[in-house]
Symmetry: C2
Subunit: 251 residues, 2 copies
């Protein structure tokens, strides 16, 4: 008996799902919405679900992938599947920085600096910062978490000429605050671009995600009051961790 959907006598009994993984998806989703499973809770293992529902493991995984795409659950590599916490709201116009707005939402933000370096400007960066080729720029790579879960990696670049000694500060705090307090720099304008993307390579590794999972790529160029480029930032977010909100006047 190598037939698959033998049970597909799908008599239109009620809302019988045509595809089994959709049924399983709905089952788990309702367990979450009723509060039977709460944010952070671990789901039964794939093999347990297999026994419980009498489906092949591939079918179980299909349902899990769907819930993952919907942002309802996430996985920790080779540890298990967990119920997702609610996303963080990110408003690029309210520029107090990550630490502030995450805290304002009653969550606990943390930052981990992965690496720092001062590197001569390449043609692209030289153009963005309007600085000569080879001018020194600070590169910072940071991992940011909410309630202990890594939600984004950022690679940011700052003009070293106007921020001497920046890398000696504790970068596991708010960069916005450091720039303001120690260098008198405030951001007046942001130019932002973003695309849904797949998290791959370094980003996936840092976020402890399996490569290829969906994410949101966000690039930001920040200007001060004089129109000078202050920061050039690339952020890679878990797709289920963020909601973007903007309020703006139309031109």
């Amino acid at each position: 008996m190598e037939k698959a959907a033998d049970t597909n006598g799908t008599g239109p009994t009620e809302s019988a799902e045509s595809r089994q993984y959709l049924g399983l998806r709905d089952g788990i989703a309702s367990r979450i919405s009723t509060g039977d499973l709460k944010p952070g809770d671990k789901l039964p293992s794939e093999r347990q679900l297999q026994g419980e529902f009498g489906l092949a493991r591939g079918t179980i995984r299909e349902a899990l992938f769907l819930l993952e795409a919907e942002g309802a659950i996430f996985r920790r590599d080779r540890s298990g599947w967990y119920v997702s916490p609610p996303p963080v709201v990110y408003d690029p116009t309210r520029w107090e920085g990550f630490m502030s707005y995450v805290e304002a939402q009653g969550r606990v933000p943390t930052t981990f600096t992965i690496s720092t370096a001062t590197i001569p400007a390449d043609p692209l960066l030289s153009d963005i910062f309007s600085r000569p080729l080879g001018a020194p720029l600070h590169h910072i790579r940071r991992l940011r978490s909410v309630d202990g879960r890594a939600v984004l990696v950022e690679k940011l670049v700052v003009d070293a000429a106007i921020t001497p000694g920046l890398l000696d500060f504790d970068l596991n705090t708010s960069l916005t605050a450091i720039l303001k307090r120690n260098f008198g720099i405030t951001v007046a304008r942001n130019q932002i671009s973003m695309q849904p993307c797949a998290l791959t390579g370094d980003e996936a590794v840092d976020l402890r995600q399996k490569s290829g999972l969906p994410g949101l790529a966000l690039q930001r160029v920040s200007y001060d009051g004089h129109g000078r480029v202050v920061e050039y930032d690339h952020e890679y977010w878990r797709h289920d961790a963020v909601q973007i909100t903007v309020d703006l006047r139309v031109r």
Copy 2:
């Protein structure tokens, strides 16, 4: 011989990929980047790739899913896999509307009105529009395409009191233009919110996508110069069809 990765004698010959689907992914990706495969081109069928690479179909599909998540390819249900065209750039602050900005990028926009209706305001909409419960609101559901490919479904709501007879116009054109020309309404402010999401149910059907594929959900509340709510809009985009760009002053 039910062993899987027997070929995993992965001698570190060159950049041998540890996982076979990554190798296949790279192979197809490079065919795209060299121009061997161009936007719109059809990929070989899964079974052809199976023969060509000597992998099980599941493995082939894993590679295809990854490329899909990256936005490099897309599928037409039961027709095949195709190379993705470049995304459209969407700037919510430049409010000439979909038709204008798509054309400005040298692409061909089309709009198809799926349904229209005038419905009494429910509590939520009554609140958003600051209108009494039961006040008439126009509901419009449209499908919008670029170069013949459906890229987004939108469900929009407009206050019927200030747009009498709106549904009698040809809604397969620019709504922005209709509101301006025929009702003297212009948008002065937008409040936008967006989250990566999974396209499911009606949205997936309308976009001819398999349910569960990643997308971008965008909600917009538009105000006129008097602060009156003009439009309430929900858009569901294919994740690979759009890039959002915003330029804004920080508050």
